[in-house]
């Protein structure tokens, strides 16, 4: 049986993972997963708990090296690249557990993220708070995430949903081309979910997005392609309809959600 390919043969994938495998001792967390992300497309990865989705994202972002396989970003082989280097090359990532700077204001959170593009560490006499480049990018990112009225609030005091928005904003502050989003909807109420989905729809146009999510309704609404993982391997991949009607998927999932 040939393994379902989550990647197309087209040459303009912004991010491509080929036969990615990750072993922890005897356990195979990710088993020969290939997948690609195209510009203008939201590619969702779903699966049961322990399916290997988090490990896969960590391999793509550069936080864990694969045991086998390669990762290509914008045509370059980045398998050996560190996470900061991949980020500089245009890869952005949000985390399942909110990874922000709670003691800084919302604006400073975004500004510091944007500063990665204009680090200028040698200009020690200059006030970072007046850095127009990073401030501009920060305000834009915060605006697209809907946080413009909250710029001066300490990030730690935001509501959970607002923190998840900030998580995305920080991702956007570095103007990446590829977005790896790990469960951005986690713990969100209905209204916040709507807002986030609307944001994802607008982001789709200029980015390639990988979305790992548990919320099936949301996934089927917003994804252009869906890949299903079980026990570290891809069992199905294709358009939402194809996946919905796939016998393998229905067998693996407990009767659909």
């Amino acid at each position: 049986m040939t393994r379902p390919e989550a990647s197309t043969q087209g040459g303009d994938a912004l991010l491509r993972g080929r036969s990615l495998t990750r072993r922890w001792g005897g356990l195979v967390a990710v088993n020969e997963v290939s997948l690609d992300l195209q510009r203008g497309e939201l590619h969702a990865v779903i699966g049961t708990n322990g399916a290997g989705k988090s490990t896969l994202i960590n391999i793509l972002s550069g936080e864990i090296p694969p045991s086998a396989g390669t990762v290509e970003l914008l045509g370059q082989d980045v398998t050996a690249w560190s996470q900061p280097r991949r980020s500089q090359a245009g890869l952005g990532r949000s985390y399942q557990r909110t990874t922000i700077y709670p003691s800084f204001t919302v604006l400073e959170n975004c500004r510091l993220a944007a500063q990665a593009r204009t680090p200028k560490p040698w200009h020690w006499w200059q006030d970072a708070g007046r850095c127009e480049a990073s401030l501009g990018a920060a305000r834009a990112a915060a605006a697209s995430a809907g946080l413009t009225d909250r710029l001066d609030r300490p990030a730690g005091l935001l509501s959970h949903g607002q923190k998840r928005q900030l998580e995305i904003a920080m991702c956007l502050a570095t103007a990446p081309q590829v977005l790896l989003l790990d469960e951005p909807l986690a713990g969100m109420g209905a209204e916040e979910t709507e807002r986030m989905l609307a944001l994802l729809q607008t982001l789709k146009a200029d980015h390639a997005i990988l979305l790992v999510e548990h919320d099936m309704d949301a996934v089927f609404r917003v994804a252009d392609r869906i890949t299903v993982m079980v026990n570290g391997a891809v069992i199905a991949s294709g358009s939402p309809d194809e996946v919905r009607n796939s016998a393998d998927v229905q067998a693996a999932y407990l009767g659909g959600h």
């Binding site: 900061p84 990874t99 922000i100 800084f104 604006l107 680090p119 560490p121 040698w122 020690w124 006030d127």
Partner: protein
């Protein structure tokens, strides 16, 4: 927010002015004591950059302090005054180089292991001066003639006092600028959430290494001043007890604030004088470590934000509402 910065700037300004006029009222003992405290304050400021600024708890800072002191004495001519510029540069460079080497090896470790490694490397430096003839052994080495900077002779206590005060103001100003700079903000980001820094594209290791090296170099500067003041160096200047003491200074004063290092150095020195005082404790005064140890435990337990945080703690108690202020780049200006 503006009032905040202003009140902190006023506090620091007043403190420096008080230090400037202090010699008018104090005798020789007082001038000597406060000179020592100011040197400790520079030492504490250097560590604050590392612990409060970057979140790296270093338990081996005395090594850099000691290297600065030893470099000063070892490179001073036998019977002529050395040049302040040369000796100061040597102290700063020597300490900075060792900091670069130690940092390069230690910064790959994290958390408790980093604390252990830095302590161990400081012990290494201690043994070099303690066991080998290089450092004059346990007897130490004397600085026969104090260095000069053109017409300024650091031999006079008042000259040295104002030279030290000037250096203190300079170091404070430098670190205030650094903490609001992009470099300083990056260090703060590394302290709060290194993972996110890396995810946004910062290579965090070079930043940490730079902070470690700068911190060590500034400690070496404090070492230079201490050697000039006392005219004598011995291995105890690199002892891990001194590393512990300087950590206590910054936590006593308040981590995360430059003025905390100032306040902490003063508070610690005064506490030491207090517990050592035979006038108060009589014969028991020789066991002054006991009082100091208990005070350290009490202050860490009861004043987690240090003396700097006392007005806030009192306010919280009286009003009953915890008010939290965020760190902005503006707020960082008042990190002083």
């Amino acid at each position: 927010m503006q009032n905040d910065i202003r009140s902190k700037a006023v506090f620091v300004g007043l403190a420096f002015m008080a230090l400037a006029v202090y010699p008018l009222m104090a005798g020789n003992f007082g001038v000597d004591l406060v000179t020592k405290i100011m040197v400790y304050a520079i030492f504490a400021l250097s560590l604050e950059l590392l612990v409060g600024g970057t979140g790296l708890v270093c338990f081996g800072h005395a090594a850099f302090f000691g290297i600065g002191a030893y470099a000063t004495v070892l490179l001073s001519p036998e019977s002529d005054p050395g040049s302040v510029l040369v000796l100061l540069a040597a102290a700063v460079l020597g300490a900075g180089l060792y900091a670069l080497a130690v940092g390069a090896l230690s910064l790959r470790t994290k958390g408790v292991y980093f604390i252990m490694v830095t302590l161990a490397f400081a012990q290494m430096a201690y043994y070099v001066v303690h066991d080998t003839p290089l450092g004059g052994g346990t007897d130490g080495i004397y600085l026969n003639v104090k260095p000069v900077l053109g017409p300024i002779d650091l031999d006079g206590p008042l000259t040295l006092y104002f030279f030290t005060l000037g250096t203190l103001v300079g170091v404070f100003g430098l670190l205030a600028l650094v903490s609001r700079s992009r470099f300083g903000r990056a260090l703060a980001g590394i302290r709060v959430n290194e993972q996110r820094m890396r995810a946004t594209g910062f290579s965090t290791y070079p930043y940490k290494l730079a902070a470690f090296t700068l911190s060590g170099a500034l400690a070496g500067l404090a070492g230079f001043l201490f050697a000039v003041k006392d005219g004598f160096v011995n291995p105890e200047m690199m002892s891990w007890h001194l590393s512990g003491s300087v950590l206590i200074m910054i936590i006593l004063g308040g981590i995360g604030h430059l003025r905390g290092a100032l306040i902490g150095a003063f508070a610690f020195a005064l506490l030491q004088e207090f517990f050592k005082s035979e006038a108060i404790f009589g014969a028991f005064a020789k066991h002054w470590h006991l009082g100091l140890g208990l005070t350290i435990i009490a202050s860490v337990a009861l004043l987690p934000r240090g003396l700097v945080g006392v007005p806030q703690q009192l306010r919280d108690r009286l009003i009953g509402r915890p008010s939290r202020r965020a760190e902005t780049t503006e707020g960082q200006d008042d990190k002083a």
